[in-house]
Amino acid sequence: MLRHGFFIVVFAALNAHGLDLSPQEIVSKGQELLRGSKSSRARTTLTIVRPKFQRRLEVESLHQGQDKSFLAVHSPPEEANSRTLRLKQDVWTYTRKTEHPIKIPYSMMHTSWMGSDFTYEDIVKLDSLVTQYSHKILEQKKDPQGRSDILIRLELIPFEEAPVVWGKVLWSAVLKSDGSEVIPVQEEDYSERGDLIRRITLENIKLMDGKRIPTVLTCEMMGKKAGSKTVLEYKSIDFDLEFDAKTFTLQTLQRGLK
């Protein structure tokens, strides 16, 4: 009887601690999901909502590893052939009007990409949530919406010296109890004062190319910029492709994808 009780306690402790993954690994796995561990190619629509107008772009996005990305706009016609290339920390854009790749200076990294609520820095610094923050589990329970087994909420506090602007990030994901699947569902970015500045919600989980992924990603601005949001919707995504060696080059940026 005593033995039995001991097992229950140990089992409960293990469960509370959160599976086989550490909180950091959970965030890392969640962040990796949409890019693919090796590479990915996706077709998306990007809807930019502003208090006074709304705009829709068709965007194709390619990612390879941690540090190579390529984004191409296919419609509307006036913005078609606008392309963005990222190699490590450097970002270049190309539009038909300039007919020349322009390197985004560091001073513009915080400006918006294609007029959306995403910045160039969001494209560059995808792994900062993993490396620049300490991770604490706030809550862990059975997922009430049944998207996966467990809903987990983490509090991410940046290290004192980390070059990040947020004071706190609340990050939630749903995951399988064996840790084989982590799907991020929400990220809330707070200022140091505790004001919510930006909320990213990931919903509408579907099976695409053998993986379950959230297909609608909504980035909502709070506070002063309230009323602005950007919705990224995945039409299709393929994972772990082999890209041509020339894909992530300035040449392709100028000529366009095949």
Binding site: Q89, T111, E161, P163, V164, V165, G167, S191, G223, K224
Partner: protein
């Protein structure tokens, strides 16, 4: 004889008090307004230079010879600690401050903006520049990983003293480097350019972001004990720092703040233009008066000549009359002008122009006038010259009169 002439001239001037009074008024008003304008411009300029120097330009700066931008020199001085040692030896140098200047992106949770960052040794900078005196919230830099920012930067970033700011810039190897710092204080100078774009942080932090060594900086600002010694100290330093061999250059505040020198030049030329216009009007006024009194008194001059007055004496009489008008005007105009300057020296005048200038520089909203003796002297000389020249034309005319004809003139 001369005394009699001067007395006679005075009596002639006083004969028609209204006309003489009006002419006198034109001289007085002309000179008074000129004194005032000169003092205004020069006080403005002196204030501007003083403030620009105390905020940023300093008296002298040592920079790399290859840099082309004197404000944010793009080429750093490297291995330059020895320069500081050498500067300490000069008896006329009060102190110096090593600065690292660069443009960066300052980002808060709410927003991000481009700024100019000055990396300084806080204690030195405090003595060389007046920025510490403008701190409104929080405190001046007193530890590492701190920054002080302008009030408009703070507003745009929605950030308060004590909160976090990320400074991002391109480092030497081209990578994007970021560093999080705490806002120690927020300053408000009233100048848009400063409050909206300039931040101060520790030199070591700035060097770390840029990937620079401890003895690398863009510029060394030097403050002298006596601002009049700028040129001579510059010459001394050019020799003692072996500037051509070491690839250095020494800039005075005029080189660094060349826009101030240009503003000064522009103001000076406007001032001269105004002075010329005023004196043309004054000269025409005196000339008109003199010619009228000449034509009125042709028979009188004929009589004088008939009685034995020489042409030269009559001409001198006219010149003396003109001189009376000019000199009396000079006296009153000078006194009024000085009175106004003294008044505004103590009271201070509100200056919309100051607000316009404060776009670029911290500037007081009231200006305390001071004398601009050099310019006043020129104005006085001009009054004398004008009154003589204006008397000269009627004086020459009077010499051409023939006594007999003049007597019969109607």
């Amino acid at each position: 004889m001369t005394l009699a002439l001067i007395k006679l001239a005075l009596r002639n001037v006083l004969r028609n008090t209204r006309r003489s009074g009006l002419t006198l008024a034109s001289v007085v008003i002309g000179l008074t307004s000129l004194f005032f304008l000169q003092s205004l411009m020069k006080s403005l300029q002196a204030d501007m230079v003083e403030r620009a120097n105390s905020v940023f330009n300093s008296h002298l700066q040592v920079q790399s010879r290859e840099s082309t931008d004197p404000k944010i020199p793009e080429i750093p001085l490297s291995g330059a600690s020895w320069i500081g040692e050498r500067l300490k030896e000069h008896p006329l140098i009060r102190l110096h401050s090593k600065r690292v200047l660069f443009t960066a992106l300052a980002a808060s949770a709410a927003n991000s903006i481009g700024t100019g960052i000055i990396g300084v040794d806080p204690e030195n900078e405090k003595q060389i520049s007046s920025i510490a005196g403008y701190i409104r919230d929080g405190k001046y830099l007193d530890g590492p990983r701190q920054i002080i920012i302008g009030a408009i930067v703070a507003r745009n970033l929605d950030i308060r003293a004590g909160e976090k700011l990320v400074v991002m810039a391109q480092s030497r190897n081209g990578a994007l480097e970021g560093k999080s710092v705490r806002v120690a204080g927020i300053y408000e100078t009233g100048s848009y350019t400063w409050d909206a774009s300039i931040c101060y942080m520790h030199r070591a932090d700035a060097q770390e972001i840029l990937g620079w060594e401890e003895d690398e900086f863009n510029s060394i600002a030097i403050k002298l004990k006596d601002a009049t010694e700028i040129e001579s100290v510059k010459k001394d330093l050019e020799k003692s720092l072996e500037i051509s061999a070491r690839g250095l250059k020494i800039l005075t505040w005029k080189d660094v703040g060349s826009e101030i020198v240009h503003i000064k030049q522009f103001q000076d030329s406007v001032l001269y233009l105004i002075m010329i216009v005023i004196f043309i009007i004054v000269a025409l006024g005196i000339l008109n008066t003199m010619l009228m009194s000449l034509f009125e008194r042709i028979r009188e001059f004929g009589l004088m000549m008939a009685l034995g007055a020489k042409r030269k004496q009559v001409a001198l009489l006219l010149l003396a009359e003109s001189a009376w008008l000019g000199l009396t005007g000079l006296l009153w105009g000078g006194l009024w002008g000085m009175g106004i300057i003294v008044f505004f020296h103590f009271v201070g005048m509100p200056l919309p122009l100051g607000q316009a200038l404060s776009y670029f520089l911290p500037f007081e909203k009231t200006l305390h006038l001071r004398f601009a003796w050099g310019n006043h002297f020129v104005a006085v000389l001009c009054v004398i010259l004008v009154s003589i020249l204006a008397g000269l034309i009627p004086a020459i005319r009077v010499t051409r009169l023939k006594a007999a004809e003049a007597l019969r003139h109607v």
